[in-house]
Every structure is written in structure tokens, then in C-alpha cells.
Symmetry: C2
Amino acid sequence: MPERLVVIGGDAAGMAAASQARRLNPNLDIVDLERGTRTSYSACGIPYLVAGDVASPDDLVARTPEEFRREHRIDVRMRHEAMAVDLDARTVEVRSLDHDRTFRLGFDQLMFGTGARPIRPALPGIDGAQVRGVQTLDDGCHLLTQAKEMGCRDVVVVGAGYIGLEMAEAFHRWGARVVLVEAAERPMSRTLDPDMADRVVGQIHRLGIEARFGVGVEGFEAGVVHTAAGPVRADLVVLGLGVAPESTLAEQAGLTLGTRGSISVDRRQAASAPGVWSAGDCAETYNRVSQRRMHVALGTVANKTGRVAGVNIGGGYATFPGVVGTAITKVCGTEVSRTGLSTDEAERAGFQVVSATVETTTVAGYLPNAEPMTAKAIAEKGTGRLLGFQIVGGAGAAKRIDTAATAITAEMTVMDVVELDLAYAPPFSSVWDPVQVAARAVVRQV
Amino acid sequence: MPERLVVIGGDAAGMAAASQARRLNPNLDIVDLERGTRTSYSACGIPYLVAGDVASPDDLVARTPEEFRREHRIDVRMRHEAMAVDLDARTVEVRSLDHDRTFRLGFDQLMFGTGARPIRPALPGIDGAQVRGVQTLDDGCHLLTQAKEMGCRDVVVVGAGYIGLEMAEAFHRWGARVVLVEAAERPMSRTLDPDMADRVVGQIHRLGIEARFGVGVEGFEAGVVHTAAGPVRADLVVLGLGVAPESTLAEQAGLTLGTRGSISVDRRQAASAPGVWSAGDCAETYNRVSQRRMHVALGTVANKTGRVAGVNIGGGYATFPGVVGTAITKVCGTEVSRTGLSTDEAERAGFQVVSATVETTTVAGYLPNAEPMTAKAIAEKGTGRLLGFQIVGGAGAAKRIDTAATAITAEMTVMDVVELDLAYAPPFSSVWDPVQVAARAVVRQV
């Protein structure tokens, strides 16, 4: 009998692993279990589905179950949920959700790509039907259907991180009256330094989204969200409080968990039992700058770690070197990005830091389409090593973060960054790229 | 008497050097000689002045002579031309162009920031008043005035490199009928690999610019350009055949010249005589990838090398590590960029190369504003070291070249590039950034 790989989860990490394993080992018997109705979709695209930029959820699907079956000979079983794993017996207990039938499936190798779930704080009314998290594409579809069927007018978004801000904008564009409620004093408070986060606030208001910062949510009732500052009307509540790794099944199977309950893996994405692997939003990862294990739920990381797991499962050799903490979003017409460590994260990792925030423009200042752009560089005191970078600005601002991410990966100093040969022409940049302007401003303090 | 620095040239390199020298040495007597009428302007902005995006040439001036005088105590003398340099006597012979008066100016240190001049091939009629190069802002102003006064309808642009393409588009937008004549078989043939250059051709035609490739120019007469393929009507002819370093004065003074007649300098921007410096378009530079001396005329390099010269003149210590060959332009709505070595340049530098060209999109393919984007990665056979990168595509495509430029500077391999933690969200990129998609395609060939 051929060796069998069972993959739990049919999104980015699971399917990347399955595809790579197939590429390396044509003889492997590969079964993928997905409890939802779609494979390999862009969860990051959900806000654009809600906003109407994307016509159909099918547009967000990179590859269908049928394509995986036909092109990769992967036995994708949709609406099949893994209920329990017996690592000694090497079996998974599987429930077919459509047929209400349970069976056991043997495996030689097992891959956990179970993803993450929206954090739902233990507040009164949190389980109300109108209080929705958004994680899977199925969640996104349900949310949109519910909003339409309810003739939804008032939407409250709880939490002003990436997902919260993107969903707030999406529902605003969809046509709802949106109130954003955030317990912290500013948006993106776990992502950006306070001076940079403050620059996002004006943009949120400018778009016509009402935002209440420093206001905690106390509970939910039909039609209303109770906050520390009083009740807020809400036909629908969208949770944007971040996600937690979906590792319950792995934990019950006896696998070791790490940071924030993520599945502990080594650099080859191997979990704590032989022949068991994990990748994506459910797995632990490593930050190359802080040199600490961390949990991050991002599509890029899911694709990369899934691929690494798949190569190793297929008999090859691949390692994942970790992340440097890059993230990007577009909210209310403003581009926001970060990489490396924030000031607070750097200090908690033991660095003494110097930093500078500079005001520049997205393109040559004399062109009519020049927009303001703020860039912040964070470096190690003494050595000048670039530790972090943050950008808030107009069109074309945020993707420059990749320059800083690459420089951080190469352990460049701010002096090295000033010397980089970056591209300049008036429609793209000022003659010194904003990344270099910020680095130069830090050089003087090193 | 205080030490005196004489700077020849009042644009990017000269003024960056003068300003840095002032910053480091408050006692220096600094005289700047500029034969034109403006300091520190963006020559790269001239096409946008012609096209009408920029209302006045003054908008392209970063800092006026008055500002340099007042804020930096630099004795800027406009319309003063350096006619000869006596390195033994330490004097410059200066002509005041407005007063037709010549005088000698002593110096302790001398900085050549004389820039470059458009290449004018020895063809019949090349000195006709209607045949114009575009290098200085004064050139740009004259060109525009002439075009307006002549009621210019037909413009021929000779040469389809950056400057030629940008000027062709500018005059097209200004309202002229533009014919572009290029001796090579394709545009940007010294910049891009042939397969990438071919992708620019369609864009040029689409905009309504008539382009004739593989057609040499044979001479000029009033109203007509004679080409190998027959005469072309031309009220005005714009030369876009590249530039040569303006090093005549330096050569006559006895300084050593290097590649293509550029002024030979060491890593501190010191020329071949003591106390003499050079930077910018007139000076030689170094390519970190080919490890060869080269000549490059770009605003970024002028600013950086000018700054290095100024620090050293002021008594500090700074070196210029060289370029990696980054350049970018926007032509006819298409973004084009390159960094490192082209395939041809890499092979001439002795590398055996592997490469891959991939078709991707500027943002997530399911968003309505996704545009096609082609990316090419060039790497060393065997080691996988990234040697070059080229991009042609829609809005947001080209500035990604900075990621590759930074990776090349850090001597990363294509495997390293695949592992980079680059920013992804649907409005910015596909989940694997196009730079990584191209790198992945090369990995398989290494």
C-alpha cells in the first residue's frame, strides 16, 4: 500500500503542503479534509467581496477542489471535518458533515493546516447570531448574506486592527452606517508605534466612519452593543479582535503547543510527534529580529510554511527561516505598513533603540499627484542596525516597506540603507527615497 | 585667510558637496560657480514641465541660489563659467557671462560637479537650431519656448532610451505629433533584456506615438530629419541618445579620466590631484555587481556622491560603495525598471547566468484594478546569487525593483529572495510578491 498523507484543512497552508508533497512524491496517497465548502481561497479578499470590488466568492478561490483532484491527484474531501486524531494508531476520525457519517482514516504522515479562529471574548451576548467573526470565506459569505437579508443599516465593528479597519471600510462602502469601537486609545495599537497610529485616525474620520477609541465593549443584545460609553445601535456586529490558532484538535492529540496556543514546530515545520507537521495560521513561527517564537496569521506565511512542510513530507529538505514581521493594509484610502519590530517590541526584545519619523511625499513633491507620506525608522543604538520600519501615506507609500524588510533580513544598518541604490524618477519617488530619508535621520542619533 | 573651496557646477552634486562641506566646516569659504541660471534643480522633472504637469520651471528647483547664500553661507555665483583650471597655481579662470569679464579665483580645494552633456553625433545638420538636447533645466525651458514660438506640430525624438521615451511622451501630451526614431531594433536596448524591451513597444504605439525601430538617422535639415527609411517631417528634433560626462575642463587641467571620459575618482570621490574632488554625472562610479568602473548619469548617484565628496572636503570621512545599476521610468502609462546587471552585462562581466521571466499582476488578480506585470530575474548559475532584475508593468509594478536592488546589494541568492517576508494584502500584491514569483522560477534552474 502506498504511503498516505492526510492533510487537515484546505486553505493556503494545507493545499500548499499537499501540492508540494505531490510534486516531490508522485506515489503518495494524499487525502485532504476540509470542513468548509472551498479550497485555497484568499481570506484577505473578504473585505473586497463585502465592499463589492469582487463580484463572487468564487473569484477569491485560487484553485478549486476539482483542480486539485484532477491536476495534483489530491483526494480533496469537502465538508469533511477531522474530529479526533490518534497518533499511536495513526488514524483520524472524520465526520462527513453532509452525510452525518463518521469514519476512521489511517495515515502515515499528518499535516495540520487548521488555521485560526476569530477571538470571541467572554462577554454577555457574544454568541448572538448578529455577532460575527470573519475568518473563512464561508464566514464572509454568511456575513454578507445576513447583512443583505436583514436590510442591515447599522454595523458596529469591534476592534481597530487590520481586520477591523478593513471590514469597517468594506461595510461603509457597502452602504452601512459604521461605528468602530476600540478599547485602545488608537487604531492598530499592536502594529504601529503610537505616533504612526495617530496618523491613521484622521483618515478613518475623513471617510465618514465613526470611531470611538478608548471605549471597551461590555456586551451585546439584538440591535445594540453595550459599550463603556453607552449603547450603540447595531444590526450586525463584526468582530475584529484578532485571531487565535485553531489548535484544539492538535492539543487533544497530544502535540506540544507554543506561543498563544499555536502548534509548536521546528524549522522544517515538523510538529512534536514523528511524521506530523503543521503550517499556516495554526502553527508557531519565529521572528528573525527578536529571535523569539511568535504566532502570526498571514497568508504569506501560510503559503511559505505550507510549502516547506510539503517539501519535507515529500521526502525533500526545506526550512523556514522565520518572518521579520512585515504587514500591510489599505484603510480609508491610506496605505499602512510595517516591518521588523515596533519600538515597544524592540525594547521588549532587549534592544536599546533610536528612531526618527520623517514627513515626505509619495512622488516628487512638484508633481500634482504627490501625496503626504510619513516614514519611521527604528534602529539599534550604537550599531545602527535597522530593527523596524513603519509607513503611513498616500498611493504608492506602503509597499516601500519591502525595501526595509529586505534590509532588515540582511541585517543592514541605517548607514547601509542610506547607501542603497534605490529607484528614482519623479513619478515614483523623491530623489532620496523616503526609506532613505528616514534612515538618514536616524544615522545622526546612532 | 580661511580655506577656500571652489565648486564648479550648481546642480545636485555640486550643491550637495557644498552643503555637506559647510555642515562639517563652518569656517570654510565656499564659492560655487554655475554658468546657468538655476541651482539644485530636478533635470528629471523636465519631461513633466513639457507635458504640463508642472506649471513653472521654478517648481523644479529644490533650493535657490538665495537660499544657499542665506542658509548655508555659500557664495553662489550664477552665470559664471569656469574656463580653465591651473592645479599648480590653485586658481580657476572664471568668466562672468553677464558682464563679459574674466577673473581668477584661488582655491585650496576644488570640486568638479560639471555634469553631463547630451551626445550629439557628427551628422550633417546636427548643429541646426531646431536640433536640441535636453540636459539642464535651461535647456528644457529653451526647448519649450522654442516649441511654443514655432507653433510646433511635428516633433521627432531621436533615440528610445529613458530620456527619448520620456520626451516623446511629454511632447505627445503637449499636443505635438511625435515620431520616435531608434537605430536599435527595440526601445531601451541598453537597459533591458530584449524580451522585456519588446513589452514596452506595444505601449508606445498604443499611446499614439509613431515609433520606427531599426532606423538610423542620417542628417537634419530645417523641417526634416533624414533617416535610413526616408525623410520625416520635424519642426523640432529632440536628441535622446544618452549623455557623456562633461569633463573637458578637468581633462585640460590634467586630471585622469576613466570610463567613457568620466573624471576618475577614488571611493572618497577624490580626483587624481590633491584637494580636487568630483561627483555626479561627470565622475566615474563603480558597479558593485560587475565590480567594474562605469559611468552613470542619474540624480540619485549625483546626490549621494556629492554628499560623500562634501563630507570629505569638510574634513570628515565618507565613502561611496558604488551602484547596483538601478533605474526606473514611466513611459506611456507603463512602468519600467531594472537593477543589477542585464543578461548581456552579466555575461560580459564573466557570469554564467540563468533567468526566468514571469507574467503576474500588480495587485491581487481578482481586484478590478489589477494590471499585467512582467518580472524577470537573472541569477548566477550554480550559486543562485541574484544578479539582476527587470520589471515592465502597470501602476505599482516598477518600484518593487527596490526589493531586488536591496537583495542584490546584500548578495542574496534567489533562494533567499523566496524566503523574504514581503508585504501582502490584496490591494498591493499577489500573495507571493512578483519579485518572489520570478525568483522561484529561477531557483528551479540554478
